[in-house]
């Protein structure tokens, strides 16, 4: 296996939330103990519902905020130990594309200026050279040269997302964090942007961390999948293993909620009961236990570790180390 371009070890982020003047601030574990290795040119998809910590993870990976604990390695070097100059260089290695293309572009900046800005602040290229690279990147993402002097409000959502992608890639990063890059787009445009991303990954040698809640998209894009629930990874492994035989009951429920374009298809539909628990007051033991159809005594007492079972890592006491998916029938408590 080649050396990973990015490696996360036990990344954890805790936020203090003030709760009024007199009460003590509460702490929220937005992300806890996330580890993964990302190979060059690979795509890791991070899946989970809102509030599962996906966006916090993305912010840590792009160094917008330092991790509360744990370590992040880029090209094998620890980011926390880097001095300011080195960290600046890492900035160029990890870039990000945001969910909402209407919010992520400065309305007062021409798109040429927007795409050149990373070059302007991170390199000492001449303005002619910056313009040349920006125009080249625009062509790559399917924009025309005459778009250079236009403002973002003159573009459609799909085009804006192309602009955002061009801006993120103009520094030739090794890693691109995509935070729900197509969920704000029309379905018709979605496929175009996804195909563009696949194309760019091949031609520019970039690895993706693809944050999404759309399993159809994930299946199309990902090499590896990490399913998050309440800030923790509940299942992580190769795409096919997870899609063909999900082991964690939460993953199974997610899969069953994905619509399929075949009216005749019949399949099991797992409806989770209840809401995502409050992160202020997570349940004891496994965080999924209040909603889990397979819940056992042990789940309420002990946190299941992320263990290798059936070709992927899964954090569930009920998951068996067999190739098939975990059956969803309620099992007797002392099987």
């Amino acid at each position: 296996m080649t050396a990973p371009v990015m490696e996360a070890v036990e990344l954890t982020q805790t936020y203090e939330v003030a709760r009024g003047f007199l009460s003590a601030p509460a702490s929220v574990k937005a992300v806890s103990g996330i580890s993964f290795r990302l190979a060059p040119r690979a795509t890791l998809a991070v899946v989970g519902e809102s509030g599962s910590g996906k966006s916090t993870l993305a912010r840590m990976l792009t160094m917008i905020e330092p991790p509360g604990s744990g370590a992040l390695f880029i090209n094998g070097a620890d980011v926390a130990e880097a001095d300011a100059a080195t960290r600046r260089r890492y900035r160029g290695e990890v870039q990000m594309v945001f969910q909402n293309p209407y919010g992520s572009l400065n309305p007062r900046q021409t798109i040429g200026a927007a795409i050149e800005e990373p070059l302007l602040v991170n390199t000492s290229l001449s303005s002619a050279e910056r313009r040349r690279q920006a125009l080249e990147m625009m062509t790559r993402v399917g924009l025309r040269a005459e778009h250079h002097a236009r403002y973002p409000h003159m573009f459609s959502g799909g085009q804006r997302q192309r602009i955002a992608i061009a801006r993120a890639l103009v520094l030739r990063p090794k890693i691109l964090v995509l935070d729900e890059p197509v969920s704000a787009l029309d379905v018709s445009v979605r496929a175009q942007v996804l195909n563009l991303l696949v194309e760019l990954q091949e031609s520019l040698d970039v690895a993706y961390v693809f944050v999404s809640h759309d399993l159809g998209v994930v299946r199309h894009m990902a090499d590896d999948v990490m399913v998050m629930y309440l800030g923790r990874a509940v299942e992580r492994g190769p795409r096919d293993a997870i899609f063909d035989a999900p082991k964690h009951p939460y993953t199974r429920a997610l899969m069953s909620a994905t619509p399929i374009a075949d009216p005749g298809a019949r399949r099991e539909r797992i409806v989770l009961e209840g809401e995502l628990p409050s992160p202020f007051n997570p349940p004891s033991g496994c965080p999924f236990n209040p909603r889990c159809p397979l819940v056992m005594e042990r789940c309420r007492a002990e946190m299941p570790p992320l263990e290798r079972k059936g070709g992927r890592l899964v954090a569930c006491w009920a998951a068996q180390d067999t190739p098939g998916p975990t059956p969803m029938q309620r099992q007797p408590a002392f099987a």
Partner: protein, 334 residues
């Protein structure tokens, strides 16, 4: 970068073909005109012009605003070319023509179209020269307080914490004191003069600019493009002035335009109290104060400077309202 491109070209994909096509276009003339446009720092010419045209179309709908703009322009032009249009020097005393009434009253003459004051100075000339001082005070107060307001407001929004608290509480203290009292206080400390008037009025009107910039910057800071700029490696200073500030300008421009008229009024009030421009400077407020004892005997001497202040302030306010109407929908749209 170049080597990487060539590497990729060995595996022909759709993207590579596009890149090659772009490279082929690059040296030819197709891209050059655009580069020339962009090179001359007015990269935004076409779009900017259309934005300006849109703004003008919205502004023109408001007739009062256009009238205000024209009056303000006329006063500004008069102020600039005062030596050419004023019939006399503003401080020259015609001892034989003390308190001559204006031309339309009995006893008036075309030599002094608006009459003369208690010491025989031509009122029209003094009003024209006074426009220089009043507009000068208004504009310089506005420029200084906008500049300081931008720096303090952005610092407050970006630094948060202690700096934010200190700056905003100081602004609260300034707002808490009635504006004229505070201006008198500042002038009393610094001594009465034209420059100190400007300083005093600037201090009084600073909080509104700081607040506007801070509020607008905080609203912009929560938007994703600011985070995107940070990820791209943009430093704090550039983020403040290049990324965020241009998006905060619309409310600031409106406030600045209206602030000019407030500053003129405040400076005239100080002049009236004898704390602003000192005689014989032809400042409108001071002219009003000098002549108030003649309000029965020679009412034009006190009325005309008052009218000048009124017309200027109303014109600026009309223009400012038009600016607000023209800029605000854009603010909501973007």
């Amino acid at each position: 970068m170049a080597e990487r491109l060539i590497d990729n070209a060995t595996t022909p994909t759709l993207a590579d073909e596009r890149v090659n096509a772009a490279d082929a276009v690059d040296p030819s003339g197709a891209v050059l005109p655009l580069e020339e446009i962009a090179a001359s720092s007015v990269e935004a010419v076409p779009a900017e012009r259309s934005a300006l045209a849109g703004f003008w179309a919205a502004f023109r709908e408001n007739r009062g605003a256009v009238a205000g703009l024209m009056v303000v322009l006329a006063i500004a032009i008069l102020a600039v070319i005062a030596p050419l249009v004023a019939p006399h020097a503003p401080t020259e005393q015609f001892r034989d023509f003390v308190q001559t009434p204006p031309v339309w009253s009995e006893g008036g003459s075309w030599r002094f179209p608006l009459g003369t004051d208690a010491v025989g100075r031509d009122i029209l000339s003094r009003l024209i020269y006074g426009a220089r001082i009043s507009l000068g005070i208004g504009v310089s107060v506005m420029l200084v307080s906008v500049a300081v307001g931008i720096v303090l407001g952005l610092a407050s929004a970006f630094l948060r914490g202690l700096a934010d608290t200190v700056i905003m509480r100081v602004m609260d203290v300034i707002t808490a004191i009635p504006s004229l009292v505070l201006a008198i206080l500042v002038v009393a400390v610094l001594g009465p003069s034209l420059v100190n008037t400007i300083v005093a009025v600037t201090v009084v009107y600073l909080p509104r600019y700081v607040r506007i910039v801070r509020a607008a910057a905080l609203a912009e800071l929560s938007k994703e493009y600011v985070v995107a700029a940070r990820v791209a490696g943009v430093g704090t200073l550039r983020l403040m002035f290049v990324t965020v500030l241009p998006n905060c300008l619309a409310p600031l421009i409106v406030q600045a335009a209206l602030g000019v008229s407030d500053a003129i009024l405040e400076a005239a009030a100080l002049g009236f109290l004898g704390l602003g421009a000192q005689p014989p400077t032809p400042e409108w407020g001071a002219m009003l104060a000098d002549s108030r004892e003649f309000i029965r005997a020679a009412p034009w001497i006190v009325t005309l400077p008052g009218l000048a202040i009124l017309i200027t302030v109303v014109a600026i306010n009309l223009m400012g309202d038009g600016l607000r109407d023209a800029l605000d929908p854009k603010l909501r749209r973007s």
